[in-house]
Symmetry: C2
Subunit: 402 residues, 2 copies
Amino acid sequence: MYELLRGLRVVEGASFIAGPSCGLHLAQMGADVIRFDQIGGGPDFRRWPLAPNGTSLYWEGLNKGKKSIAIDLGRPEGRELAVALATAPGDDGGVFLTNFPVGGFLSHEALCAKRADLITLRVMGWSDGSPAVDYTVNAAAGIPMMTGPVEDPRPVNHVLPAWDLLAGAYGAFALVSGLLRRRETGEGAELRVSLSDIAATSLGHLGQVAEVSCSGDRPRMGNDLFGAFGRDFQCADGARIIVVAITGRQWTGLVKTLDLSEQIACVEAELGVSFAKDEGLRFLHRQRLFPLFEQAIGSRASTELGPAFDSNGVTWGPYQSLHEAVTADPRLFTGNPQFQTVAQPSGVDYPTAGPACRVEGVGRGSPGVAPRLGEHSEQVLADVLKLGSGEIGRLFDQGIVA
Amino acid sequence: MYELLRGLRVVEGASFIAGPSCGLHLAQMGADVIRFDQIGGGPDFRRWPLAPNGTSLYWEGLNKGKKSIAIDLGRPEGRELAVALATAPGDDGGVFLTNFPVGGFLSHEALCAKRADLITLRVMGWSDGSPAVDYTVNAAAGIPMMTGPVEDPRPVNHVLPAWDLLAGAYGAFALVSGLLRRRETGEGAELRVSLSDIAATSLGHLGQVAEVSCSGDRPRMGNDLFGAFGRDFQCADGARIIVVAITGRQWTGLVKTLDLSEQIACVEAELGVSFAKDEGLRFLHRQRLFPLFEQAIGSRASTELGPAFDSNGVTWGPYQSLHEAVTADPRLFTGNPQFQTVAQPSGVDYPTAGPACRVEGVGRGSPGVAPRLGEHSEQVLADVLKLGSGEIGRLFDQGIVA
């Protein structure tokens, strides 16, 4: 955890990935993030993967470093507590992160009646409020039809919930931008980030909406990189690697390492082109180029090729399983200072992820420990809502909190 | 464009997706983003897809709403200009976004000698500075080995540069967080966001690092959703749809719509489980469940099923191509107010993406037009560096700027 957001209090009433990952980013930058959940756990409390003791490793991973209060949201008094938390006074409070519906008891309008300068960051599925998860939006946005082997026409779902993760990170950006504005003007805002808008705008920003508008769908191309040189290749020892050359320098380094200059020059002479000067030509003529690289890479072991690639600045990588990466790749995990093994409620020992950002010259602190559900109920009621011990005792006795 | 970041000046010296998308998010929230490039264009200036007139739709999409200055970075005087821009005085300046190397002429240390409170957001490939692109990091992080048909062991590259996009959005969050801190303490910072840290920490946050630490690699499972019920199915009219049921409510709505209650109850009785109460059991026993859904979905047309699913709150979606989505899906594109068709340098008419965030109750403004390369060279030299017309003329005459 860093301290860039120290002193900021954020109340989170959210589940699954987009909202909670947004809260996680804020917490790992030093914000005091208070997550409220239904007593017994919200809809994401048992999401797989699970630890041997039954704890959700997913919930644990997404809620590190937050405080937890468990509330009976089915009763009016519980709902009033959630509203009171989201709208509690103080210059550094008044920030609410949620995926609750636009129009319910946690509507921005209802909350603003209690605190006019509230910033609400609302994460949604479809922007019209209808239900969606990452995978259904992804199917509608066309990605699975572009993914996978050329000869197999079936759609291929992504396994990384990319839109969820992107909504969480972009949501954190929007929230802090709203806060910056509030500090200047005193005005709150409701900021809505939906998975559907995230997917649609991303494909717009990448030029793909423009592309299909002028030339129709990009055909499926398997593992080939679009618009430049790149693909998976098999080495002599059977290892699969990916090699990419987008810039001229990446290309010349690659050709040099594989000792292919003469053969490439022959192809260039025949076609009347220069591959070093135009990455698009490398893509256009890739079927002429690939056999040369298959032969050159296929005749050498990955253990020999890797260091040679590295010393010539080639952009390449091995295909690894996640287990291989977690147990043996120092750049990603085993030697990555953003990870620390800390005791978590699951009892599983694993490298726990801190923030993705490195703040140079500043100590990292702990990546954070996930709370037990309701671990901070009493503390939050006392500190944020300033309730006395008698009142807190009554709320516990009546099962409004746990 | 919104105005949450109005008054903020950001200088961008970056290329490809992560850095420029970060700058784009800032620009679309109202920041004045000045991008400098090598005269003639940086390494991403001709990246595919291209418009019929040769313009890069990729560059156009990622640089909307920014100002452009073209500088000869190969000459000392050009480099000094880039340094002067990044470190120009003013309370709302002093923010530099880059993917230049850690140790070069745009090192944070060198820039801090000119402006001590500088915030540098540096986007990187591998966190150790070695070259990487999204696709090589993705291969190393294990995603392609988990993706694609079960019976085909080959790795499947993702076609969405998810890590790039995530680095851009998370980078924008980190940058604005740094700014908030600077406004309180006066201190600058160098913030480094690498594709490798983005990938590693994301897999950590999702619980997958913990999962492989205790139970090894998750086997490849094709289009099946991990840990709950979800997969692609084919309707009677041949249309493919994805159906997902993570929560109990999603499950009961799905079972009800497909009139499968009795058949599910038989399976539950036989296995001694309740699928409504535990999403993990739906995953564990999915091979028992899928045939029932294949039959029920396969006997009805998608045109009939879609409205029935919608009225019961089922989480589902069609598999569409991007062209279908762009031309006919009102929720993603044709009716999405975050998109507007504006005249761009490419001359292609397409819906241009504004910010992913909707700020409720506030006018959107234009999503922004991409600059011509060097379109704002003169203006930036005058406004930011306060150079006189004689000096500006000399810089143009000597080819230091264009």
